[in-house]
Amino acid sequence: MDFFHLQPAEWQALVLTLKVAAAALLVALPLAVLVAYLLARYRFPGHGIVNALVHMPLVLPPVVTGYLLLLAFGRKGPVGTFLSETFGISFAFNWTGAALAAGVMAFPLMVRPIRISFEAVDPKLEAAAKSLGAHRVIAFLTVTLPLAVPGILGGAILGFAKAMGEFGATITFVSNIPGETRTLALALYTATQTPSGDLAAFRLTLIAAVVAFAALIASEVFARRLRGRIGGDHD
């Protein structure tokens, strides 16, 4: 029975992972919705460049992304120096840095499905909303956004999953510090590097699988309930 008894270090990794992924999602999702909407609805100068930048973390080796984050947000990096001197915020080698890395890596995975769902919403509906007196922001919030919720939900799940499993950028940017930046993936990696770590590695694998499976089921249930409310099977 000892097998199912989680070690404090493993608990720590699980809680940290959830915290990092949740923080990444909380900050990155609204931004992803905004960027996806702009990319879907507007043709502006630099549209292609913004689109390419958003997708860069998807095609770059994660280590490169992590290294770029280190250069920019590290203690000696320009952005990192600015943030710590002005606001006293530091991303270097702490859990917020892990969340930043996870958010950046998850961003393109969130933008894509959200953008597609925005493109599927007829822009004429928003024009109709405006003709009924709704300001463009209200029209977006009451018509386009609710109709895009299935895509936003899909993007959020993909992003959360990616954030939970992020490895390369995280270890490069904020290293592998127990209790601070050692998420499940990093803990698993550490376990595999330890001579007697087989059992721990297996347990961590199981935890990751259970959490991922639960998230998928929950999202499926949520999506089904949502579909019932938005339309589809209503008689």
């Binding site: 007829d122 004429k124 509906l125 024009a127 109709a128 909303a129 405006k130 003709s131 009924l132 007196g133 709704a134 300001h135 463009r136 209200i138 029209a139 009451t142 018509v143 609710p146 109709l147 409310r229 938005i230 339309g231 209503h234 008689d235």
Partner: protein, 368 residues
């Protein structure tokens, strides 16, 4: 009172539109691709003209010279789109009240009154996808009305409906046009709808307004016939029901002196009616004929004869101060020696004036 004078270019179409509506229903009539929707989009603020002005009841919505260009949400124009554009995630009720909760329009119109006018009571709890095409359009009209608009634009609201559904919704439109209390711009390529519903007709072709005026006057124009086609050439007579002959099922309609007898017209004495008479249903006689089954034989005077080529001639006759159109062969014109100014008898087949082509409608404004 709507005053439109706009120019602009959308896609490949140059728009040059100038017309006024004196109240009631102003129809934008023209073939598909004539630019009807583009013009209404410019009026509604969905497209921007390059020059000109748009004003409704004295409020300027757009004026290129003065730099006025109100955004869509501030124009207070109720727009009924061809495809209804109901919000699929909202119930019918939430769609109808959208202008109130999302547009912060207090709306001067009573909710129950609009529900009653358009027969929406049983639809309130339903979702748009469960509605038929006609029901959707009725909800869209109700939603636009409840936004408290200063002008209602209806862009081919019946275009996507089959014939039966169209006949379901037309009586609602009849009532709406009379009871709306605001100017209406009605876009259509169906002359039947236009003559039935409108007071002013604006003829649009290739992006340009060719002419506008009271419907009856416009129907007498040659260029309109070119758009509608000769089979649809017609004239409009306004009259008042003087009495109903229940024994024979005939309504007697006073058209300003002479009376027409119309079978199966559901109206009461005193009702103002508008009768559309197809040119191909009118024959002319130089001497008053006898022993005919046709009940409506009325004295008329030939005003003009046109039709240089082809077998048919179009003849406009004045009849009790109104205009009627006859389509007869050029051979008959020659044989009978018909000339402008001649007194003739217009023979109108009773069957042409039934419910299908004539209807209850508001009297044509600005006609007298």
């Amino acid at each position: 009172m709507i005053d439109i004078n706009i120019r602009g270019r959308v896609g490949r179409l140059d728009i040059v539109a100038q017309f006024e509506g004196r109240g009631g229903v102003t129809s934008l009539f023209g073939q598909s691709g004539a630019g009807k929707t583009t013009v209404t989009n410019m009026i509604a603020g969905l497209a921007t003209p390059s020059s000109g002005h748009i004003s409704v009841n004295g409020t300027v919505l757009f004026d290129a010279d003065k730099g006025i260009d109100l955004p869509i949400q501030k124009r207070r124009i109720g727009h009924v789109f061809q495809d209804a554009r109901l919000f699929p995630h909202l119930s019918v009720r939430a769609n109808l009240t959208y202008a109130r909760w999302a547009g912060r329009r207090s709306g001067t119109r009573d909710f129950d009154e609009v529900i009653d006018l358009l027969g929406l009571k049983d639809l309130l709890g339903r979702k748009p996808e469960t509605l038929s095409g006609g029901e959707r359009q009725r909800v869209a009209i109700g939603r636009a009305l409840l936004s408290g608009p200063r002008l209602l634009i209806m862009d081919e609201p019946l275009a996507n409906l089959d014939h039966a559904r169209r006949n379901d919704i037309l009586p609602y439109l009849d009532r709406l046009c009379i009871e709306a209390g605001i100017p209406i711009i009605y876009v259509s390529h169906s002359i039947e709808e236009v003559t039935r519903l409108s007071n002013t007709l604006v003829l649009l072709s290739e992006g340009r307004t060719q002419a506008y005026g009271p419907v009856a006057e416009m129907l007498a124009r040659e260029d309109l016939v070119r758009v509608t086609g000769h089979r649809e050439a017609s004239a409009l007579l306004s009259g008042t029901v003087s009495r109903i002959d229940a024994a024979w099922g005939l309504a007697h309609v006073d058209i300003g002196g002479p009376e027409l007898q119309i079978p199966g017209l559901a109206a009461a004495p005193g009702d103002a009616v508008r009768l559309r008479i197809l040119a191909r249903d009118v024959a002319l006689a130089v001497v008053p004929p006898e022993g005919l089954s046709i009940r409506n034989a009325l004295p008329a005077t030939i005003e003009s004869i046109s039709g240089e080529a082809g077998p048919y001639a179009e003849i406009l006759c004045s009849l009790a101060g109104q205009t009627i159109r006859a389509r007869i062969t050029r051979a008959s014109v020659s044989d009978l020696g018909l000339k402008p100014g001649m007194a003739v008898t217009a023979l109108i087949k009773s069957v042409s004036i039934d419910r299908g082509q004539s209807t209850l409608a508001p009297p044509v404004s600005g006609e007298t």
